[in-house]
Amino acid sequence: MSVNISIKNAVKKYGNLTVISGLSLDIREGEFFTLLGPSGCGKTTLLRMIAGFNSIEGGDFYFGKDRINDKDPAKRNIGMVFQNYAIFPNMTVRDNVAFGLKNRKIPKDEINIEVEKFLHLMQIYEYKDRMPENLSGGQQQRVALARALVIKPDVLLMDEPLSNLDAKLRVEMRSAIKEIQNKIGITTVYVTHDQEEAMAVSDRIAVMNEGVIQHIGTPKDLYQRPANLFVATFIGHTNILDGDVFSEDGKTYLRIEGSFILEMDNILSDYRSENSVKVSVRPEEFIIQKDGEKGLEAVVDDCVFLGLNTHYFAHLDSGKKVEIVMESEIDSTIPKGTKISLGVKKHKINVFNQEGSKNIVSGVRNDLGE
């Protein structure tokens, strides 16, 4: 049976060093939830607190209505997949998968049925009598997953499970993981530092930095309306430009890099006269203006043709470097040294206060709550 997880004011200290202070989080029943952040942001620490391997210095952890702070890790009914798989090297694939069931003192024939079912489900039935050292990384990963799921856990925890695989296998395995999770419908907490992987598998993502959750939302929310500058730069690529917001005749305008002025209709009312803001323009949100339309003046430095898209690297008058992505056209690309004028897709760009701590464009959805 799947449960929801709720964490209230979690505190984690390493000696005198507080790495997580007062973190709260709600994970819904049956959802695929990802903790995403750069290394050292506390995501694995948090996962291990849920698993019971790290001590909890403060706050409450609930599985459903059950407070688990002091529950023995062996009794939390968790399935866990480790970064290095942690397959028992002295047991066959089948014994690895059966290990958890044997500890639960389930009758033998029942164990056999369950083990075979999961071996089939993870497509490793043909390797059932092999020793782990004779398996590839991807196969070991499947064993680890089967072993974690066969005990019918309330929660599945995965700590960077794909980081030891090569790029192609990683893509393959992440669809396999997503598919299994959909099929079984188990509440899953997944830890990764790879934002593309997070986007590909998750229902919702919590972006963490320095022990603090920055933004919780769907992949689409995070990409299109990031809650702050950190999320904007961590999820996908973006160009950060300086700007200011001013109002005239009841209309709100955004001036980018002191020269290019746009009328904006989605700036939050409290922020309609900011002297200094940060503007996040993703490479695909630039438009290269035709026919001398007004825009940001720039000079093309380099151009990379990647098939579907063409990337331009350019610098503005202020010397700031920007990246622009255009859908590749059949006619020739713009040569180096060409002066261009850049417009932006103004309904897509995001504007942050000077500190970068808040997105001042409307439409931000953040489940973190304020």
Binding site: K12, K13, Y14, G15, L17, V19, T45, R48, A51, G52, F53, N54, S55, P73, A74, K75, R76, I78, G79, M80, F82, Q83, N84, A86, F88, P89, N90, F99, G100, N103, R104, R147, A148, I151
Partner: protein, 557 residues
């Protein structure tokens, strides 16, 4: 160098069965190691009337008769170390750089020559170069020249160097295996090759290892007791002095012997600490992505290299082969006569009485205790790091610095009166062996456990195992390789142990090595040779088992 200690944030283990284990292990160390050493110290600083005095130390340092033994020990150990380096380093270099024909077999022999009891080496050199030795007589008969005396400084140095060069060989080979061949290529590319490259690049890169190996060799040579006892004659070294002042037939002076033992411990401790310091300071990590591939060599170079390798290995092992050979010779009384027979063996077996069962019984019990202790200590040190267990870790290294004779003396002093009278029992022999030889297995178990990621245990726990069950069902099976290979090395060291046993044994608890020692000292060479051959066979069998079990075939000391 100060390390910042940050806890790893793991759940602090509760007080459970492991806490009891910690305390039990600590008590054992306290009772059988610290208490005897404390008694040793106490006896060293009191006189017959039990009053505090430093007279024994004054006596030692004021008389060159005693003090000279330290100088002698230093001289002979230093020369043996230098010679061992001169043999071991080129040998390791040739083995790794060039294709040597029969390299595998040679390597096994090199390891074997380091594994036999040093005093057997001494005894076999006496058979060859002694007053009535094979070569001495041969040369005398052929040319009339009397060869220089093997007894004394030269003999001790020869035996110790041939006994200990394999350590240098194994250490330096290990370092060379971590040397990336691109480094050699880069150096060649910049015009530095051959001998120049060996001295300018290879030696400096291996320097930390060479220093570690030399200190190790020095320490072993310094603490060795059997070799100088047999071949030293008038040349008195320090460990023999400890033994003599304790066991002297004219009523040994226990207090003086204790003082000498304390001086011995201080010296070996200083060397040990110096080694650790050097190790920590000059260690740099090398990791070879492209290990050196041994090259084919031709012509005169090939002949010279092969000649060197074979000659060294042959000289080091030939005396032992000769012992085996003599064990099959006919004897009459104590003398060898012409012709061959198994007479020595039948005599040996009739005289051995319970020495072989004792070797297995005493050695076996010691080994089992060592294995249990090692596994428990490894777990405590690696997985349960706290104050008590850090203390245990440090205590487990003390045996490295106590010479065997000192272990023997301190146990006799501690357990020869009520409430615990152990002197003369098999128990005290077992305890001595455990103290002497547990370090190998503890170190290899700790190293193995450190390589097993803790997530394996966590996986077992998250699948519903208790901590204890996870340890026994998952961790121990994974450690078994490391434990077994460590235990086999301990076993070889146990069956060849002499120095502590010779102080502690009585007629009921004699072991094979003690019997060999007895018969060699009585001049009964035929029987001694047969017994030594039995011991060699036991060592070889153990080594073969070790080779099968140990995956990387690496021998650590």
């Amino acid at each position: 160098m100060k390390k910042q200690v940050i806890s790893d944030g793991r759940v602090k283990p509760k007080k459970d069965i492991w806490t009891v284990v910690s305390i039990a292990v600590l008590c054992l160390f306290g009772l059988f190691m610290i208490y005897p050493l404390a008694m040793l110290l106490k006896n060293a600083v009191v006189n017959q009337e039990n009053k505090f005095t430093l007279e024994h130390f004054f006596k030692f340092f004021s008389k060159s008769y005693y003090f000279g033994t330290i100088a002698n020990s230093f001289k002979v150990s230093l020369s043996a170390t230098i010679l061992a380096l001169l043999l071991g380093i080129p040998l390791a270099y040739f083995f790794n750089m060039y294709e040597i024909k029969g390299a595998k077999a040679l390597q096994v022999i090199i390891i074997l020559s380091s594994m036999s009891a040093p005093f057997i080496g001494a005894y076999s050199w006496i058979l060859l170069l002694g007053r009535n030795g094979l070569i001495t007589n041969l040369v005398k008969n052929l040319t009339g020249i009397k060869l220089p005396n093997i007894y004394g400084f030269g003999g001790i140095m020869l035996v110790l160097c041939l006994q200990l060069y394999p350590l240098v060989f194994l250490y330096v080979s290990g370092a060379l295996k971590n040397l990336d061949s691109t480094l050699l290529e880069a150096s060649e590319n910049m015009g530095c090759s051959g001998a120049k490259r060996f001295f300018k690049l290879v030696i400096p890169l291996c320097m930390p290892t060479i220093i570690a190996a030399s200190l190790m060799v020095f320490m072993r040579a310094f603490a060795d007791f059997g070799t100088p006892l047999f071949i030293g004659e008038g040349y008195r070294t320090f460990p023999v002095e400890i033994y003599n002042s304790f066991m002297s037939e004219t009523g040994g002076d226990t207090h003086f012997a204790c003082a000498v033992a304390i001086i011995g411990i201080v010296i070996t401790t200083v060397i040990f600490l110096f080694q650790r310091y050097v190790n920590g300071k000059y260690k740099f990590t090398m990791n070879a992505l492209h290990p050196i591939k041994s090259k084919k060599i031709h012509g005169i170079k090939s002949v010279l290299v092969h000649a060197f390798c074979y000659l060294v290995v042959f000289i080091a092992y030939a005396p032992q082969m000769y012992v085996i050979y003599t064990s099959f010779k006919n004897t009459s009384g104590k003398l060898f006569t012409s012709g061959y027979s198994l007479k020595s063996y039948t005599d040996a077996f009739s005289k051995l009485q319970n020495a072989i069962p004792n070797t297995f019984l005493i050695g076996g019990s010691a080994l089992i205790m060592i294995i249990i202790l090692s596994v428990l200590i490894a777990y405590l040190v690696v997985r349960r790091s706290n104050g008590i267990n850090k203390t245990i870790d440090v205590l487990s290294m003390i045996p490295y610095v106590i010479p065997g004779a000192v272990v023997g003396i301190s146990l006799v002093i501690a357990f020869n009166k009520k409430p615990m009278v152990l002197v003369g029992t098999a128990t005290i022999m077992i305890i001595a062996l455990i103290i002497r030889r547990c370090s190998y297995t503890i170190r290899s178990s700790v190293a193995t456990l450190q390589q097993i990621p803790i997530s394996i245990e966590e996986a077992a726990i998250s699948l519903g195992c208790s901590k204890m069950k996870a340890f026994f069902k998952v961790t121990i099976p994974m450690m078994s390789n490391g434990i077994i290979s460590g235990a086999l090395l301990s076993w070889i060291a146990i069956i060849t142990e002499l120095s502590s046993g010779v102080i502690l044994y009585n007629y009921r608890t004699t072991t094979l090595t003690i019997q060999i020692y007895t018969y060699v000292s009585r001049g009964n060479y035929g029987i001694a040779a047969a017994m030594a051959t039995i011991l060699t066979v036991m060592t070889v069998v153990t080594l073969i088992i070790f080779m099968v079990f140990s995956k990387d075939k690496k021998i650590t000391f």
